[in-house]
Symmetry: C2
Subunit: 328 residues, 2 copies
């Protein structure tokens, strides 16, 4: 029997979930919910209903897991607790500081409804969190490092576009090789953010704009660029579209630790992601955890969970004995 998945919100992440469901033979897309007029929305999967989000409650018998694809700022804080009243849900809530509050809100409703809600699924929080946990549990004494990039930062790209004379722009966050090498050496360095990453900007300027002034304004922008080594490249609109239209991202989680009676041995655990499409990868993680939510709830589990609570085997289509034979 196929796991019937609903998508709640059809932006880049929702589209990524739709694509990921096709790659998992034990799942089918049951419905897509949107705030827009459903008639205006064209999805890629034939024969699947597109409904307004107010119709979600009519679909409780048709959906095993609902994947919430809204944003962390305003959508998920209300949508996840609301929807877990009706469905097993997965979200990618990524406002790190507010995760404990979000957890409580979702857990309260999930306990009452008897459903499972897995929150903060993706790569950070998500796969990076798992790696921070495993590495720090294994190497009790050591130091953790997380580097983001190379990838597009939406917030910094928006900041560039607000500079006068800028038509369009894209900003890449890039970890510095020197910082990565220092961490991999086992020296456990203290690193400033300036040492850890550089910011590279590709800017399309208006005709006749003062490029020197634009570059200066970007490089000295407080919070966004002033504290970093920033480079600015002026390119044409065509170059921006051709070479910088993707949404790549990635990063590194590294733990450096010591063992031995005299702490004489160094160990480096490194996890890295190099992603052509940030939303499609995040969507693929969401879909794997949708499988886990379904299985847990089928076994009678309810409440809010995070990736840290889920036994890894629950993510796989394979049976426990297949996993032991093939992967262990």
């Amino acid at each position: 029997m196929s796991i019937r998945v609903g998508i709640f919100g059809y932006g880049n992440l929702g589209k990524g979930v739709e694509a990921a469901i096709r790659q998992n033979s034990d799942m089918t897309l049951a419905a897509v919910f949107t705030r827009r007029n459903p008639a205006t929305l064209k999805i890629q999967t034939e024969g699947v209903p597109v409904l307004n989000i107010v119709k979600a409650e009519d679909m409780v018998d048709e959906i095993d897991v609902l994947i919430l694809c809204g944003g962390s700022a305003t959508d998920l804080p209300s949508q996840t607790p609301e929807m877990v009243k009706l469905f097993n849900v997965i979200d990618s809530y990524d406002t790190h500081a507010k995760i404990p509050l979000h957890f409580e809100n979702v857990n309260n409703e999930a306990q009452k409804s008897g459903k499972v809600g897995i929150i903060s699924v993706g790569w950070d929080p998500g796969m990076f969190s798992l790696n921070r946990l495993y590495a720090s549990a294994v190497l009790s004494e050591g130091k953790d490092y997380t580097f983001w990039g190379k990838g597009v930062s939406q917030g910094h790209s928006d900041a560039i576009r607000r500079v006068e004379g800028v038509l369009d722009g894209k900003q890449y966050t890039i970890p510095t090789e020197s910082a990565l090498e220092a961490v991999r050496s086992g020296a456990e360095p203290e690193l400033t953010t300036r040492q850890k990453l550089i910011r590279e900007c590709f800017v399309v300027a208006e005709e006749g704009a003062d490029k020197a002034r634009i570059e200066q304004e970007i490089k000295t922008m407080p919070n966004y660029f002033a504290d970093y080594d920033t480079t600015v490249h002026f390119i044409t609109k065509e170059e921006l579209e051709k070479n910088h239209s993707g949404i790549p991202h990635g990063g590194f989680v590294i733990r450096s630790g010591k063992t031995g009676f005299n702490k004489e041995h160094n160990h480096i655990i490194e996890y890295s992601l190099k992603l052509d499409s940030n939303p499609e990868f995040t969507a693929s993680v969401l879909v794997a955890y949708a499988r886990a939510a379904y299985r847990l709830n089928s076994e009678g589990v309810s409440g809010c969970k995070t990736v840290l609570d889920i036994p890894p085997a629950y993510l796989s289509q394979k049976s426990d004995s297949e996993l032991r034979k093939e992967l262990l």
Copy 2:
């Protein structure tokens, strides 16, 4: 309350467990069991009894988890099912092909005794298995690669020492950069073992021995070296002791996969270990899973488990809410 840990077998791995317990403030070493005469064995922790293995059953009330530090060839197949009759146990059973059988044997006894046995804990099987599972569950369509090294291969070092005229020797298995780069490119290459790794040998020859003949014999040795690119360096006994007395190891687990409606996006997930001491790192993993075994059994769980079954949060000293706040 401290988790009371017993060590069963006091070789390199057992010593590593003793050192790792000191790095975990929620654990204490309760006893060390040995097949040797206990009076001849000097351990590093004061006030802890050293007992013959036949005394284990007298210690059931003093030990919460017993960590089995014997070998996979002859010790663990009998010791793990035997000891799980009395204790929660952890082992590092690493004969991949026989894991399903070992699992059944341990599970049968653990179900009867009401204890938890976590088998095949370490880095491969262990942390590498976890990474193969997570990566393949997230990127459903793709290809997995495991590379071992740079590290000492005991079996290959032994093989060198059996060559006539060789006094001592050490063999390092080293992944080739060209193979790693090909995998990281997303090309999903098919790689032979010759393409994936090289073998580097450091050999101490007897005085007057025919080095050309020794080198030739090593390089053409069937199974061990004939199918690989092998280099042989002749060094002095002093150089071997000074530069090659450690037991380093490590490796890489890489998954290359595609997402998107037309599989247009590549993603690379890479996990790597660089270990100064193979046994001490393995011991550190065993100790983290000892915590999980204790907690699971305290909650009434019994039976055989592997790393794939254990919720990650069970490995940590921190509470679930601390983990959500600090690591997620």
